[in-house]
Amino acid sequence: MDPLETKQTYQDYVDKKSPNSPILKNCFNAFWVGGLICTIGQVILNICKERGFDTQLSGTIVSIILIGISAFLTGLNVFNKIGKFAGAGSLIPITGFANSIVSPAMEYKSEGYVMGVGGKMFTVAGPVLVFGISASIIVGMIYLIFHTQSVTLV
């Protein structure tokens, strides 16, 4: 047995014996990759603000750039590797939303460009939009009824 293999088998043994370590490791990876993606967003946001865009428009530009990058990284099969390593670190930022659109679309490409790609794009993103938009409409209606944000709760 060469040393590398011994180390590997030992690592496997350790992983098997300590069920706590994977989740800690996963959380650590999710933390720094997720944090890094947000920080990249913040740098883009700061540049936009320096250029004189307002907060709303700057936020939109950040979303568009991050979504564009992650969509193409998914298409090139790079994002899946990051996702395997980082777990929620790449899933929870808006990059995960773009990834959830491209992944199923790629898989069903053989079913055609309209119902295959165009239809399956929304396998995951569809529910996200349904619940997100519905929640925002309900929030708006509640706001209309009480006509106040319950900031006093905090």
Binding site: I23, L45, G75, I92, S150
Partner: protein
């Protein structure tokens, strides 16, 4: 136009952003590891939570504190939708609840649809590794 790079790389702002964004992702990771929720359901939970916290005015504090650390995660997407709906209500009344949210998130949704379709078109089918 001149850009003041000291403002762009203000380390305190970036640190707050990094830590907050990271913690939100840890919450997601714990949900993945400790529950049987699928990633799709976790995304839905995050967006809905963001919309509710945004509606209550709580998420605004996090956005003021962490900037992109709070807006880049999907909870920020929900917050953006809710904030837009409330702004729409203030401007147009009831109809604003329907137009405001999507209007605020329009850039992200349109980019996701357009780039998503484009990226799927140029993607190569996965090679099965044997």
């Amino acid at each position: 136009m001149d850009i003041n790079w000291a403002n762009v790389f203000d380390w305190m702002v970036l640190l707050k952003c990094f830590v907050t964004g990271g913690i939100i992702c840890i919450i997601g990771q714990v949900l993945i590891d400790k529950t049987k929720l699928t990633p799709a359901k976790i995304l839905v939970i995050f967006v809905t939570t963001g919309a509710i916290l945004g509606g209550l005015g709580i998420y605004q504090y996090l956005v003021d504190f962490a900037g992109a650390g709070a807006t880049v995660p999907l909870t920020g997407f929900g917050y953006n939708l809710a904030k837009g709906a409330i702004e729409g209500i203030e401007q147009y009344g009831l109809i604003g609840a329907f137009t405001g949210g999507v209007k605020a998130a329009a850039g992200g949704i349109a980019a996701a649809v357009f780039f998503g379709y484009l990226a799927s078109l140029i993607s190569k089918p996965k090679m099965k590794k044997q």
